[in-house]
Amino acid sequence: MIRDCGVVQVSDISVGFGNYDSLSLIESIGDHYGLSALILEPDQWDKPIRDRIRNLSVNRIGTSNHFRSAAGRIEFVSRVAAWINDLRPQVVIIRCSWNIPVLLKLNYRPSLVIYHSTESTLYYGNADPDFNRLAAAKIDVIVFPEENRAAADALRCGFRGIPIAIAYNCPVRFEEAKKTAMRPVRNGRILYSGALDRNATFVDYYADRRLRSLPIDIYGYIGGSDAEGTKNVLESLAGGIVYKGYVDTLELESVRGDYAFSITMWNPSNENQRFACPCKFFESIASGVPPIAAPHPQCKMLIERYGCGIVMDDWSFKSFQAALTEARRIYGTPAYQAMVDGCRTATLEELNWDYQFARVRRLLPPLNP
């Protein structure tokens, strides 16, 4: 059993299978203070148990209810709080609002509490902003991945007096990005990878007859509020559009660079999705695959800044079709190469973890011995 660690991160997912931003954060914090780091993660059955990832220890916390249920949350929070009270690490990192009640159950004050607010506080229900308000006094630094979410939550949860850093969800380290070669030969296809949910990610668009001539590969986990409906839609795909199932992150990473473009589009029906800042958007750019993105503010801003992709006019099917048609038109032209070059520039200049962590580092105080 782990008895000695200086940094503990409370994760809301089983780590190491995507969402690398959290790993990058704890790793950087551990390096910054020269402390060993431990991640306490919930038990996601479909994710294999690992004791170590990179240089980080991982401990999986079981719950008798599903980890995403209300009862599972209570259990997880209670057990994690007991762990932390026992270990008494100097630095505690809380990942997202789901875990924020942990702070209310600690019986000591860690030297530094970092709140990595990866989702909008409303994402987990209307009670969460209140949990955040109650915990605000126990937080030293807040890291948000998106500016608009940060502003909304700062106002809603009384965070305006707490130092805030914005660190985008781009986990690729600068050195790693420098070494990554953009693949010169692509398969000419468009990639969608991520959540598949009729209500959240416009899955119905892909089944529209007008898109059948377009070459699109879809990867992802079928879930959300209408899983059966989503499954039916995916089964009805025809023409050049293919659903390739849910694959391991590593497998996805190995093929991503072969694609010509990738798609980022969430239904802007709630704050979390309107101000989307998905890891896959940044991973795509890091792989030199220009994204075709709906006008989520952060995606739009970055694509316009670096000319590294295509921004849809809005979330309508018409705009989606127009953007895909435009992508197909420019593929193989100098304009496409300029987008690929834009991806590289973006990654080396700004969209790498070292650049993002610098925004956090300046807020980190020296720890009391």
Binding site: L104, L134, R160, I164, M301, E349
Partner: protein, 667 residues
Amino acid sequence: MPRFILIDHSIEDIGGHHYGYARYVLRAASDLGYTPILATNRRFKAAADFPYRFFPTYTIGFWPRMAKALPSRHLVRWAGAIFRAWRLFRTRLLFSEIGLLWLSRGEPSEYLRRRPFEARPRTTLLWIAGGIASALRTFAHVLWFLIPFRAYFVSTASSIIRFAQQIVRHLWDAVSPAGSWAAWRFARAKRADFANSTARLLRGVAATSGDIVFVPTLAEPEMLGLLDAFQKTPDCSGASFHLLFRRNLYRGREASFAAQDNELLPVRNAFLSFRERLDGQDVRFYTDTEELTRQYNRLGIFPFQTCPIPHTEPPLDDATSEPVRVTYLGDARAEKGYQYFPPLVQNLWRNYAVQGKAKFVIQSNYNVEPGEAQAVVARSLLQAFPADRVELILTACSSERYRELLLSAGVMVLPYDAQQYYARSSGVLIEALCAGIPVVVPSHCWLSKQIGDPVSRYLAGLTNGPVAKVPHGSEWRMSRRTGQPQSAILDWPVRLSGSGRFIETRLRVPPGQRYVVVRAAADWRPGCFAAIVCEQVNEDGSRRLQKEIVSPAYEGYCWAGAMFGIDGAAQIVLRLANAFPDGPVAIREVTLAFVTGPGAGPLPRSAVGVVYREESSASIAEAVREVLDHYDHYRRTAREFASKVYHRHNAAALVEMLGKNVHGRVE
């Protein structure tokens, strides 16, 4: 010697906008032969060398934050603390075994089934208690159904609860500092304080005929307070009173004003009351923009005039420095577009900041702590940039420091909310223009109108040179919607009315031409802006759209114009419309000219400053880039324009205007 008495009850110290404004006006008044007197808030402590008489008279300032704290604040604080403690207790309870039991109250056995080894014995006692409670709850349900006249009891109970909730809501509204009772009380207290303090002041200085009393910051409470002061000091009310209203009455643009009239009845009634109770006193009314004057004149009670903005200085000798200082002055607020600066800096980082061509100087203090949420986030992002390239001013500036920052600016960026500043003035803009500093401003608001004339003249000048002019008239067609059948325009002027209507022409670009200048003369009424769209059709058939919303210039003949880069395009499609089609507009004439530009270099697309069309960091960055890329041109044209702006906006012009309007001296 007549006295010039400036009343600003919001002046608390020798810094900030209110004090700066008063200083300029009083100096001009002194130069023009008046004896200057300043009346301020009681908290004001002048420096030893303050050159004028001053009366720290007023207790309550203009802004609600200057109100005296309500005694009920203690009650609010205690209530808040108790409520917070309750919420904390409840949340801790929820995230405990008790919370878990509570969630499984419908199926207690499930709790034990799922936790065969984890549940501790003492928890099982709780589980038993929970089971008993659950059974009792079910039994209560049974009892409930045995009660006769249940509906009667339910409706009585819910009425009592509603009544109690209403009482609590009203009580809260009454004691909360943000409640409507506090706002009502503030307005009345402000009126009373303004009345008493002004009466004391007028008696103290023995104001008399020939004296000018100028109130540059006020609203209805102060105006009615002045009326009360007249009644308290009938001997002193022979002076001439000049009231300057600088806040907008209406939201949005002219077309929506009629719908807001009903909401403004309290304001109208205040003015009516003032008019009824005036007893021969000489009172004059002003705003500082034409748009605000139109709004207040819409009330139809007193005639309002537009007065100059006084806190300006004549342009100094040109002293540009490298790197060019891209500057923002004013506090960090969303209304002033502060949140656009982090992405703006990032957009210009590689090609301008890193290369030493530009440095950012951004005033970043909050007007009220802890700051607006958007500003807090934006400031946090800006603080992450190296301080030698992004200089943040984190505290309010003294007048001297402010002036220093203004004069050292290379480009003044004012990314203000165009809706909020549709009619309101910006002192910073006028100060920058007077100092000959190029500006970047949003379209379709008061700010862009201030540079409408020089931009129009610049575009007209471009079409006078060796250009390929296109005869107007026959090529233009009118349409309702893009892609719909069009009708040829046979007679000019063309009247556009109704949403979606525009005129359009399609032209082949002559070889070698890199820009097209479009100018349209029309009866652009107040609130009208031109939307000019240029769609480029490349040789490969692809299209690219550029859109401009431009303020018409008022040079006798009302022109609106824009210039588009069309390098590489085979054809262009130009569309012209009223940007906000809430009224008809008659387009009299359109001129088009293809322009090559001198040499191989790009041509500036504007003069004095650049108007950006879309409230986004990319659009603002594009505008700043345009200024930086043609800095000498913008600096030169801004300096040429500066004396014209200063001639209109200076303190002497303001004092002279007030002086001319004194009763019996109206010219």
